[in-house]
């Protein structure tokens, strides 16, 4: 049975990002895969500290992250996974700080310091990045396009393939009356949550199905 791991880079465990990646895992499970969801904000860990132990000739940590913290067992499980899903909201135009920390710890040890750089990942696996954000699809393409493309590029370089899925103009919270707020019409947003977000969830489910099938085709 395949193992599919999803990483939740949102602090919230029950909102847009988590909901979407849960649907992705359900899609994977519908194809018979075992699944695991990791909430990064439950873990005590840091971004890469640039110690370069993963680049040391003959070093015992060559190609692996030498930092020991809550992320170490997660990275170990990912090295045996058959598909990997990263989920994050966009904060200040970039994935969250915790997702960024995770990515540095996942990617840098797997990257050879050679020209051209090579991947040390044990094998190619299907990967996907699921994004949620406040801005519209149009604004996303104008402003976050390079960031999203760069993430896909580096994941593809490491693992062979990466697909991006995004949900835009998400509902940030239930009760806009409680907030100091005048940015957009909350009613429009709630309507979108009822009508568009379920479609995003279906696309996330289909993504999970595709990832397992793609893994079998590898």
């Amino acid at each position: 049975m395949e193992m599919v791991i999803a990483i939740n880079g949102s602090p919230r465990k029950k909102w847009n990002t988590a909901t979407l990646i849960e649907h992705t895992l359900e899609g994977a499970a519908s194809q018979g895969a075992a699944t695991e969801l990791v909430h990064l904000y439950d873990l005590d860990f840091k971004g890469c500290t640039s110690c370069f132990a993963c680049k040391l000739k003959g070093g015992k940590s060559y190609g692996k992250c030498a930092m020991k913290d809550d992320l170490s067992p997660v990275l170990e499980r990912i090295s045996g996974a058959d598909a990997l899903i990263l989920g994050s909201p966009i904060y200040f135009g970039i994935v969250t700080g915790e997702m960024r920390s995770f990515m540095e710890r996942l990617l840098f040890p797997n990257l050879t310091y050679t020209r051209p750089p090579r991947s040390l990942a044990p094998r190619n696996i299907p990967t996907a990045f699921v994004y949620t954000m406040n801005v519209s699809e149009q604004l996303m393409k104008e402003n976050y396009g390079p960031h999203i493309a760069a993430n896909a590029r580096v994941m593809k370089m490491m693992f062979g393939q990466c697909e991006s899925l995004y949900s835009t103009e998400t509902l940030q919270f239930e009760d806009y009356d409680k907030m100091v707020f005048s940015y957009f019409d909350p009613e429009e947003r709630k309507k979108r949550r009822r009508e568009v977000f379920p479609q995003d969830c279906r696309r996330a489910f289909d993504l999970g199905v595709r990832l397992v099938k793609a893994g079998r085709a590898e």
Binding site: Y41, C48, V180, F181
Partner: protein
């Protein structure tokens, strides 16, 4: 050095030495409409020191085409300074300048993420003064910053010109 010459006190904060959690998206700062954060950790003292300062220099290497995770977490925690209508909440008149370093020799390569980062920090109400990018740097392999006079001159000017 440029600050000492102008009689300006300085302090350096190493983010990687501190315990700073990411923004929890609890929206406490928005419910209460304050430039204050509900998460009690080492960021609290950074908030206080930023608010008491006249200027800030943010320095970060570029990892994987963007700023490091440590500085991204710091930026996520600046959310209290940005109202939901995007008006800034940082007390006015504070300057910010940026120092970036990267291994890649091509200065244009990561221009978009660098500009996005500075723009977002500016949304807090900090006035973006200046920035510099040191390229072709890789500790122990390439010439170090201290051997690159043009970079030392640039950082000197960043410091000298921060506070008008």
């Amino acid at each position: 050095m440029p600050f000492r010459e102008q009689g300006i006190a300085t302090e350096t904060i190493f983010l990687n030495d501190l315990k700073i959690r990411g923004c929890q998206a609890c929206y406490w700062c928005k419910k209460n409409d304050v430039a204050d954060c509900a998460v009690k950790d080492d960021m609290q003292s950074i908030h206080r020191r930023m608010q008491e300062s006249d200027g800030i220099i943010v320095a970060a290497p570029i990892y994987f085409g963007g700023v490091t995770a440590q500085i991204k977490i710091w930026m996520d925690r600046l959310f209290p300074y940005i109202s939901m209508n995007l008006s800034p909440k940082m007390p006015a008149g504070k300057m910010v300048s940026f120092i970036f370093t990267q291994n890649q020799p091509d200065a244009q390569l990561f221009e978009t993420p660098i500009r996005t980062f500075m723009h977002m920090v500016g949304l807090t109400g900090l006035s973006v003064k200046d920035y510099m990018l040191g390229c072709d740097l890789d500790a122990g392999i390439k010439l170090s910053v201290s051997e690159r006079k043009e970079l030392l001159d640039q950082v000197y000017r960043i410091g000298r010109d921060l506070i008008p």
